[in-house]
Structures are given as structure tokens and as C-alpha cells.
């Protein structure tokens, strides 16, 4: 059942393009049915889950690594899963109308389905690795979906930004999960949830916490990673509504809520989480007020809301957890409603600039209802759910045992700005002066206003009857995070108390800001993320800087000069060898003094003389002759020390080589001196060092006692077993014939290669 819930999204992703290809007319109508069906399915199990028994499912996935594919549906997961499928339904309903039967709808639906599956997988994951896999998949889908208009450079850049920021956080999260798994001894969530104390006491707790937080903060666009979310608005509006306000960006909140029983409650948690949340809340709110583009306004307000959720989670008392869950539901409802409204406005009016929009209510009454309901919920007006959630937040902060005044003040500021934003985004476009540009109200298909209206109405419904939301949505989620004994009771009317007073002040302040908005904007810095040299600047610096560093490095390392490559390769080999040599104590004591006959010394001298001549001569033929001398000298050595076969072969090969050298060289240029004396000196020094090192190594080996060699066997058995008296030849054709087989293959290929090299030119491949 859980598996089917998760996998159906992926299967649908495969099916959707096919459907759109063959029955384009029906596909748009069929697609919303899946999320609706999943939503219904989830409702059927809601009773069991909210009663406190999570649904579990587990399959061994990679037993070798101790990773299983586990799903775990408790109250927290259920809340998120219902949001994912419910809003998914609206988005699928809305998208075909919004995109006017764009031919890319098939692909888009596929990615949306995949995203839905990934989201369900993340929120229902029962194993850290399972969760991570789905977590990353949501990021990938987000990348592709932000880049939907991929021929626009802005879309591509925004998609990349989102991918890199969340992907980077994702890698930190991976490391965090692994550490957590190592500390806790398991990756299974159900078991980890019971081991919170042990985890928090572990020395690696802090690094694990920081890594996990990095993952959560990037995903939920927390400061200083907040800048990617408004850029992601390059995506079509239904995608922004779905991914970048209602569901995916909430994953950071989800993750922190999920891990609160394991990681939460420590000093470190408290300060990091609530600190970042507070900064984000205020930054986002201020920046929202500054914008003119409806989608960007909403995006910044989302950042702010996410910040407030994180802040509340950081405090982590049962009261704040209740506030988080209530606000989460509220936010998902009103923000999706507002986003879809904005999309419809954009679709009809062709603009999202609040300075150009106005008076739309007369042409689109239902859309106006949706927008205004959403905005009022956001502003926290009764009798909407937004009001309740605001009251709950205030009561939680007021009861907090940590600086209740300051906390409440923070929320007061944030919420007041949200009121401003609500008025700007949800109310402004529908009233006031009509724009100069002509509208296309006929383009407003019923689906475009129905979709935003539904969540808006739910906001109203839950506001009027808060009990319906608490029993199976909020309370189970709170119990999963905080403790199974928490009771949640929401009510529209709490009586005349501090909370109500704060709500009224909030409203007044927010409306006041609307009036003095221009002055406020003038006080804010002008950069896009609110900081003159702020995080988005760092990102840009990295994005531009890394390729520059890469180019410099590559130009330096891979400079195209073979002799540099050679020098480094050989130098590294020999340098390491020299170091190891020194380390192992250098030469052992006594070397046998060379006591050879004159002809032995003479042979050695011939070879040395030849080699030196090859190096010094400036005549090609002289070099060939000297090289020949070396070769023949070596074959003399072989004769002297009992290797006539070697000598014969060396002799023949040397002769053949000389013929080849002569045949080839007389078409090549004369030797030229291309290097400066300094370079030559340097090279000579290096070469001498290497030669000396090889010599030392040989001396070392020679000074060692001779160990018994396997050759004894060859000498003893060559005749009796292999029927040959020439032991070397017997080794070649019998004892080690496989070597010889390989060797003649080399020869065959070399010959084919020479032939090919010489013939290719005649076939005309000689262009520069």
C-alpha cells in the first residue's frame, strides 16, 4: 500500500508522455485523477495513523551496505502527504489550462508526477538512505521544472542555481545522515527515534547536526541560502506554486521536525536553528515588501514563512510545535491559492507587476474571491485559519521560557510585514485603478479560478471549524514530533487576551507599512538578496570564479608541452623513489669491488661512449651509428655473460633497427638545437640525477644476497620434461610460451600499425 502510493507517481511519469502523445485531449483530464485518488487513499488510513500507529513497510534494498527501502507513515508524514497529493491535484487541474495545451505538457506532466512520487517518498521514508534518495530526486525534478522554459537563459541560470545550492546542501546532508547512522547504529528511522539521547551524547553529534542543518537550510531557502528561491520563479507559475511554495521547500521544515526527537533539544540545536530561522524570517519579509513582481513578492514571503517555521522548531516546545504544524497547513493553503491566483492574473493580464495591475475584480469575480480569501488568511484575519494560526504562534512565543518578549516582538515584525505583503499581492491587483493594457478575460478558463478557490475555501472551512483540521491533521503530526501525549485544541475565539492584542497590533502595523512602503524601501539596500556583498554575490563569485580558477589551473597543469609532461612524470617517479630510498636507510654497507677483465671494462666503456655520443652529436647519421654502437655493445655484454641467444637476437634487431632509422631519418630534418643552454643544463642535471638513482637502486639490489630463484627448476627439467637443451629457448616456447604468444601479437600489431601509418597518407588524410 505505501509502496504503491510512492511508486504510482513514477509509473505515471512514464505513462504521461505516452498518454499525451496518443490521446492529448483526454490526458489533461486524466492526470489530476491520480493525485486525487492518492489523496483519497491517504484519507482512508488517516484514522489509523492519527490513532498513533504508524504504517510501516520495509524491503531489504542493499543488505550489503545495510540499506533498506523502508516507508513509515505517521502523523507528520500524513500531513505532508496530504498536502502533496491535495495541492498536486489542484496543480494538475490547473496546468493544462494555464499552458494552453502547450506541446510540452507531456514532458511537464511526467516531471510533475515524478516530483510528486519523490515528495511522497521523502515524507514517507522510514530509512535515512531511502529518504535521501527521494530527497535528491525532488531536487532533480525541481531543476528540470525550473528550467521548463529552457531556451531562456534566465531559466537555465535559475535552474542551475537551485540545483547547485540544494544539491550542495544535499551532499552535506548525505554526510550527516551517514554520521547519524554510524552514531545511532542504524539507518532505520523507527529505531533511531528511540535513540535520541545516545545520539546527542555522542562526540560526533555536533558535526552530524551541522551537516543535517546545511541540508535542511538549503532546501528550505534559509539564510544565507535564501537567494535561490526567488530566482526559481522563472518556472511556470503552477510549478512555483507546487514546488517552491507549498511542498518541496517545506522539506527542510519537515526534516527538522522529523529529526527533532533525535537531534533536537540541545543548546546547539536551539541557537543554530532558531537563529537562522529568525534572520530568515525578517530578511524574507523585508525583501518581499520591496518587490514589484507578484511572484517574487510571494517567493520572499515564502522564505519569511519558512524562516518562522524553522524558528519555532528551533525553540521546540510542544506549544511551538503545535504552532509550526498549524502554520504549515495554513501557509500551504493560502500560498498555493495566492500563487495560482497570480498565475491566472498573469495569464489574463499579461503582467505580474503590481504597479501595472488593478481593478481586476470586476472582470474576474471568482478569482478575486480566491485571491482575497488567501490574502486574508495570510494577513491573519478572522474567521480564517490564518487567524487561528497567528494566535497559536503568539501564545506559543508568549509561553516560551526563552526570552518571550523578544520572540514575540520578532514575530510581530514578521507578521506585520506579511500583512503588508498580503495586501500588496492578494488585494491590490483586484481593486483600484484599471490598467492601461487590455485584458483577456475570455482566456480565464473556469479551471484557472477554481483551482485557487478550493484551497482558499479550505482555509475558511478550517477557520470556522478548527476541530476538523486538528483531529487528523495537526494533532497526529504534533504528536509525532513532540510527544504522544500532547493535546491540540484550536479555537477561533480565545477570549480577550494578549494574543488578540498582538494580532490587532500586527494588523495595524502591517497596514501602516502599506502606506509608508516607499519610505521603507528607500531604507533597504538595493541588491537582490538584501545584502550588498551578500550570499547571492558569493554564489555568483563562486559560479564565475570556479571556471576561472579551473582555466588557470588547467592551463598551468596541462600546458601542452610533452617535455614538461615527461619531466614531471619521470621526476615524480624518481623523486618518490629517491625519498623512499633515503627513508629505507640508503645503501647497505659493503659493495663487491668490481674485478673484471679488461674486455669487460672495455665493453662497458663502449656502451657509455656510444650513449654519450648519441646525446652530444649534431649529426643524424652519427647518432644512428652511435646508437648502433650501444646496441652492439649490449649484445657483447650478453655474449660475455653467457647469453648467446640474447646476443644473436640483439644483434639482428639492432641491425634491423639501424636500417629502419636510416630509412626514416633521411626524410626528417637535421638535428636542431632548440633549447637554451640553461634549459639544457637543467635537463642534464635532472637526467644525471635519475641515472644516478637507478644506479644506486641496482647497487642496492646487487649487494643483497642472492635468493634461490625459480630458474633452478628450468635448468633441472628442461631436457627431461621439455625435451630441449637450450634452456632459454625452452622457456620461450614452452615454460613461458604465453609470454611469447603475447609478444608476437605485439609484433603483429606493430607491423599493422606501421603499415597503416604509412598508407593512410595515400588515402588523403593529410590535412592539417
Amino acid at each position: 500500500m505505501l509502496l504503491a502510493l510512492v511508486m504510482s507517481g513514477f509509473l505515471a511519469a512514464l505513462a504521461a508522455p505516452v498518454l499525451y502523445h496518443f490521446v492529448p485531449g483526454w490526458a489533461g483530464r486524466l492526470c489530476p485523477l491520480l493525485p486525487l485518488a492518492l489523496f483519497a487513499c491517504l484519507l482512508t488510513v488517516a484514522g489509523q495513523v492519527s490513532a498513533g500507529t504508524p504504517l510501516v513497510f520495509s524491503l531489504p534494498w542493499i543488505p550489503s551496505l545495510g540499506v533498506s527501502f523502508s516507508l513509515y507513515l505517521d502523523g507528520l508524514g500524513l500531513l505532508f502527504a496530504l498536502l502533496v497529493t491535495g495541492i498536486g491535484f489542484l496543480v494538475f487541474l490547473y496546468t493544462p489550462a494555464y499552458l494552453d495545451d502547450d506541446p510540452r505538457l507531456g514532458r511537464l506532466s511526467a516531471w510533475l508526477f515524478a516530483f510528486m512520487g519523490a515528495m511522497l517518498g521523502t515524507v514517507m521514508a522510514g530509512n535515512l538512505m531511502t529518504m535521501f534518495v527521494f530527497w535528491e530526486l525532488t531536487g532533480l525534478c525541481s531543476y528540470i521544472l525550473i528550467g521548463f522554459d529552457h531556451e531562456q537563459e534566465e531559466s537555465r541560470r535559475a535552474a542551475l542555481q537551485a540545483l547547485l545550492v540544494t544539491g550542495g546542501g544535499g551532499l552535506a546532508l548525505l554526510a550527516g545522515f551517514i554520521l547519524l547512522g554510524n552514531i545511532g547504529g542504524t539507518m532505520e528511522l523507527a529505531e533511531l527515534l528511540l535513540r535520541g539521547d545516545a545520539v546527542r551524547a555522542h562526540p560526533l553529534y555536533l558535526p552530524a547536526l551541522l551537516l543535517v542543518l546545511a541540508g535542511a537550510f538549503t532546501k528550505s531557502a534559509q539564510f544565507p541560502f535564501h537567494f535561490w528561491l526567488p530566482s526559481a520563479m522563472a518556472a511556470p507559475t503552477p510549478i512555483s506554486a507546487y514546488l517552491h511554495s507549498a511542498t518541496m521547500v517545506k522539506l527542510g521544515v519537515f526534516l527538522l521536525a522529523r529529526l527533532t526527537p533525535i537531534l533536537g533539544g540541545s543548546e546547539a540545536w536551539l541557537w543554530q536553528v532558531s537563529g537562522v530561522g529568525a534572520v530568515t524570517m525578517l530578511t524574507g519579509a523585508l525583501l518581499a515588501v520591496k518587490e514589484h513582481d507578484l511572484k517574487r513578492i510571494l517567493a520572499w514571503s515564502t522564505v519569511s514563512s519558512l524562516g518562522s517555521m524553522i524558528l519555532l522548531l528551533g525553540i521546540g516546545t510542544p506549544g511551538t510545535v503545535i504552532a509550526v504544524m498549524t502554520f504549515l497547513l495554513t501557509h500551504a493553503l493560502y500560498k498555493s491559492s495566492l500563487f495560482l491566483t497570480v498565475g491566472a492574473i498573469d495569464h489574463v493580464a499579461g503582467s505580474r507587476d503590481i504597479r501595472q495591475l488593478g481593478g481586476l475584480a470586476s472582470g474576474m469575480p471568482w478569482l478575486a474571491v480566491a485571491g482575497i480569501l488567501g490574502a486574508f488568511s495570510m494577513a491573519g484575519l478572522p474567521p480564517l485559519l490564518g487567524f487561528i494560526s497567528k494566535e497559536i504562534v503568539y501564545s506559543a512565543t508568549l509561553q516560551s521560557n526563552m526570552l518571550p518578549q523578544i520572540l514575540s516582538g520578532l514575530f510581530l515584525a514578521g507578521n506585520a510585514l506579511m500583512v503588508t505583503v498580503a495586501v500588496m499581492a492578494g488585494v491590490g491587483p483586484f481593486f483600484g485603478r484599471k490598467p492601461d493594457t487590455p485584458l483577456h478575460p475570455h482566456g480565464l478558463s473556469p479551471l484557472l479560478w477554481l483551482s485557487p478557490l478550493i484551497p482558499a475555501l479550505f482555509g475558511l472551512l478550517f477557520g470556522l471549524f478548527p476541530g476538523s483540521a486538528t483531529s487528523f491533521l495537526i494533532e497526529p503530526a504534533v504528536r509525532a514530533v513532540s510527544s504522544p501525549s500532547v493535546n491540540v485544541s484550536l479555537a477561533l475565539w480565545h477570549g480577550l487576551n494578549m494574543e488578540l492584542l498582538l494580532s490587532i497590533i500586527t494588523l495595524a502595523l502591517g497596514l501602516g507599512v502599506v502606506l509608508f512602503r516607499r519610505r521603507l524601501i528607500a531604507l533597504l539596500p538595493s541588491s537582490s538578496d538584501g545584502f550588498r556583498y551578500g550570499p547571492s554575490g558569493w554564489y555568483r563569485l563562486l559560479l564565475d570564479g570556479v571556471p576561472i580558477v579551473a582555466r588557470l589551473q588547467t592551463r598551468f597543469v596541462q600546458d601542452g608541452r610533452l617535455r614538461h609532461y615527461l619531466m614531471i612524470s619521470i621526476g615524480v617517479a624518481m623523486g618518490l623513489m629517491g625519498l623512499t630510498f633515503l627513508q629505507s636507510g640508503g645503501l647497505p654497507g659493503d659493495l663487491p669491488f668490481p674485478t673484471g677483465y679488461l674486455h669487460e671494462w672495455l665493453t662497458a666503456g663502449i656502451i657509455v661512449a656510444g650513449a654519450v655520443t648519441v646525446t652530444l652529436t649534431d649529426s643524424r647519421l652519427g647518432a644512428v651509428a652511435a646508437l648502433g654502437t650501444v646496441g652492439y655493445g649490449v649484445s657483447l655484454v650478453y655474449i660475455l655473460y653467457g647469453a648467446p641467444d640474447l646476443a644473436m637476437t640483439q644483434f639482428c634487431i639492432e641491425t634491423l633497427s639501424i636500417v629502419l632509422f636510416v630509412l626514416v631519418l633521411y626524410r626528417l630534418p637535421l638535428f636542431t638545437l632548440l633549447s637554451t643552454p640553461a634549459v639544457r643544463l637543467r635537463d642534464a642535471a635532472m637526467a644525471t640525477a635519475i641515472g644516478g638513482l637507478m644506479m644506486l637502486l641496482m647497487l642496492y639490489v646487487i649487494s643483497q644476497p642472492l635468493v634461490p630463484h625459480v630458474s633452478e627448476f628450468f635448468l633441472a627439467n628442461s631436457l627431461s620434461l621439455a625435451h630441449g637443451r637450450n634452456v632459454v629457448n625452452v622457456i620461450l616456447v614452452d615454460f613461458r610460451a604465453l609470454d611469447t604468444l603475447g609478444e608476437i601479437t605485439v609484433l603483429a600489431v606493430a607491423a599493422v600499425g606501421v603499415f597503416g601509418l604509412l598508407k593512410y597518407r595515400s588515402a588523403g588524410g593529410n590535412e592539417p
Binding site: 542493499i62 548525505l174 609532461y565 639490489v701 603475447g742 599493422v752
Partner: protein, 503 residues
Amino acid sequence: MNHLLFLPLLIPLTTAIICLALWRRPDLQRIVSLIGASALMLAGWVLLTAVRQQGVLSVQAGAWAAPFGITLVADLLSAAMVCVTGVMGLAVAIYSLADTEPEHERLGYHPLMQVLLLGVCGSFLTGDIFNLYVWFEVMLIASFVLLAMGGKRANMEGAIKYVVLNLIASSLFLAAVGILYGVAGTLNMADLARLIRDAEVTGPLPVIAILFFTAFGIKAAVFPLFFWLPASYHTAPIAVTTIFSALLTKVGVYALIRIFTLIFINEIVAWQPYILTVAGLTMTVGVLGAIAQYEIRRLLSFHIVSQIGYLIMGLGLLTRLSLAGTIYFMIHVIAAKSALFLATGMVRRIAGTTELKKLGGLYRTEPLVAVLFLLPALSLAGIPPLSGFWAKLALVWSGLETGHYITVATALLVSILTLFSMTKIWSEAFWKAEPEGAGTAPFSTVTLPKGSFWLMALPTGFLGLTTVIIGLFPEPLYALCMEAAGQLLQPTAYIAAVLGGSP
């Protein structure tokens, strides 16, 4: 039964000989090489099954008892690599049907490919260190000739660097073998392992180990010995580049793993910090090299270097998990990187260029090619649940367990840079609109007939699908890798299989 071990040598060699004898008939050579590649793949599979059932297999060529003759030996790592070699051989053989110039076929393309496979299989199977040198040379000379084919300036420049630097590596290798024989008196790897483990051999072993490390390091393209690779790989035809990238550097890595887990185990333990440093630098320098590039094949060539860093990291950590990760990574990267190269070849045929500046709009016009590229690209970047993720997971996991935090951080950072450079290709070649001035390149599928398209798409898709399947269902492969890693860390079975005696 153990004669099975000969098949991966006999099949490509016989195929090469037949192709060579048919040098006037490229059409027949194609069929023969196709049959040969299929047979090799089959033999690899049978060998792997046999090793899984019966443990380490060995056979003495010429029936001379070890350590006197040459031993062929297959443990799980060898058998798996031979199997992969067969698969790659077949994939490239099919691809080559559609994408080989007649001139290359005339000059011996098919037999050369087979000899390359022979050298690779020989390197994986041999249990004798000098014989390893011989198979390295077989592989090298075939790669020299394949690389120099084409005769254009780029081919020549690439080939000369490739040839000279690899010859240096060979020379180091040969010297190392010679000195090792002078010190230990035997060439059989199991025998060497036994002698060194029993401390019957002393002498300058660390120095010899360094020689081996640098020789194989050049072949495997680790920092700072990788120069030849980015200089040359992108100049060859795509099919050749693919097989090079899939197998040649991996043979180097295989040799490092084999020699250092079997023979120089003391040295690698002592050098762990340095090896991990090398691994980190290889990853980083490679991926930065890739980021600097604007041509797909050059970009991918630098990525080969970067991926080698991960393989070395697994060797450096030297736990069972990390070695299993390395083996899994090796198989993953062979599939993913090859699929990328082959997809690049399709892009080249369709769009007429692989310059990112001149490409564009392929997501719209060629959705299939886009998918064929995207899957392995994401896999390479380590996006779960594709194979690359599990590969990196094991390495990161092992690194965190053993407390090598800097290495892990580097690996993760490089992972995000890999993602960055993969999205660069994706964004420029597939997403971006076709550039205005692209009229120079014939931008139509007319140049690529339907039949050829599918011949190219089939192996590309197969390899791409492989990364998906071993990503979704990694357990069978991981179980194999864990077992293989266990054999590497406990080589008693290997030694016993070669030298006799109870393990």
C-alpha cells in the same frame, strides 16, 4: 573445467587472426568481430558464474606447476572485469557498425580492437607479473595504432604524447619487474605474495613498490601523471575513445589494486595518507580540468581523470567497504562514462560538432538522444538512485567510518562540481536554443540514416539502462563487490588456488 580461463584470451586472439586474414574484406571482418565480441561476453559471464560457485579458479598455462610456468587466475574481481570487458567489447562493436570510417576498417580497425580486448583480458587474468607486462604491451600497442588512425594533425599530436608517456610507464614497469625478480627470484604473483608475507624476502621493497605505483599510476592517470590522457583521448574516433576510457585506465587501476593488496600490502598501509592525498588531488584537478573545457569530448576526458581519483580513494581507505565501493564504482563508471561518450558520438553525427558553443536545441529536436545523455550524466554526478550514487556512498561511508574527513569532503565537493559540469553540457547542448550562427553545421538528421541511428542508440541505451538498473537494484552487484573485496583483503584463497594447498 579450469580451462575456461583460457577462453577470454583465445576468443579475441582467434577473432583478431581471422580478421587479419580477411584483411581485404571489411564486411566479413565486421561479422567476425561481432561474433567474437559476443562470444567473449558469454565467456566472461560463464567465468564469473564459475568463480562465484567454485571460488578462485586458476590454471597453469603449459601445465607447468606454479610458480614455474605462467598462471592464469580468476578471482571475483578478475572475472567481473573480464565480464565487463566482454560487454564493452560487444557494445562498441555494435556501435562501430554505424560509426567507423571505411579507411579505418581497411587498415585493421577490427583486428586491433580485438587485440586490445585480448590485452585487457590478459591483464585481468594473469597471475604472473612479467606476463602482466606482456599483456600491458599488447594492449598498449593496439591502443597506439588505434589512436594514431586518422592521420590528421590532432591524431598525430595526441598519439605522440600518448605513446611517449606510456612508453615511460612501460619502461618503469619493466625495470620494476626486473628488480623484483632480482630480489625475490620469482615472478608468480601469488608466490611473491607468500614470500613477502612470510618475510622471506627483504631488500628495497618500498622502492620497488614506488616504481610499480608510478608505472601503474601513469596508466591509470592519477595526479600528477595523467597528462597523456586529456591530451590524446578526445582525438580518436568516438568508439575508440569509449573503449579506451572504459578499459585502459581501469586496467591501470586494476593493476594497482591487485599488486598493492596482494604483494605490497605493507607499503600501501604505510602510505595511506599520501595515497588519499593523491586521490583527492586527482579528483579535484580532473574535475576542474573538465570545468574549463567547452568541447564535450575534452570535458569528458578530464572527467575520466576525476573519476580515477575516487577509485584510488577506495584503494587508499583499504577497508572491505571501500574496496567494494571501488569495484562497484569501476563497473558503474565504465557503463556511465561509455554511455556518455557514445551519446556524444550521436550528438556529433547529428549536429556535426561537439563544441558546446555551436550546439543547442537538442532537447527539443532529439529527445531520445537527450535522455540517452541525461541518464548517464546524472549517474556520473551521483544523483540517486542511479549507480553513481551508490558507488560514492560506499566510499564516503567508509571514509567517514575511518575518520578521513578531508578526503570525504573533497569527494563530496568534487561531486557537486561534477554535477556542475554535467549540467553545463546539458544546458548548452540540449537546453539552450540552437545558436544563430550555427548554419555551418548541417543541423539535420539527414546525415544519420535511421538504421545507423538505432545501431548507435542501442548500445548507448543499453549502457545507460545498466546504470539505472544497477542503481535501482544494486544489491546483486554489491554483494558481488563485497565478496570480491573480501577476497582481496584475505588473499589466502587466491594464493592457495595458485600454489595449491588448503586456503
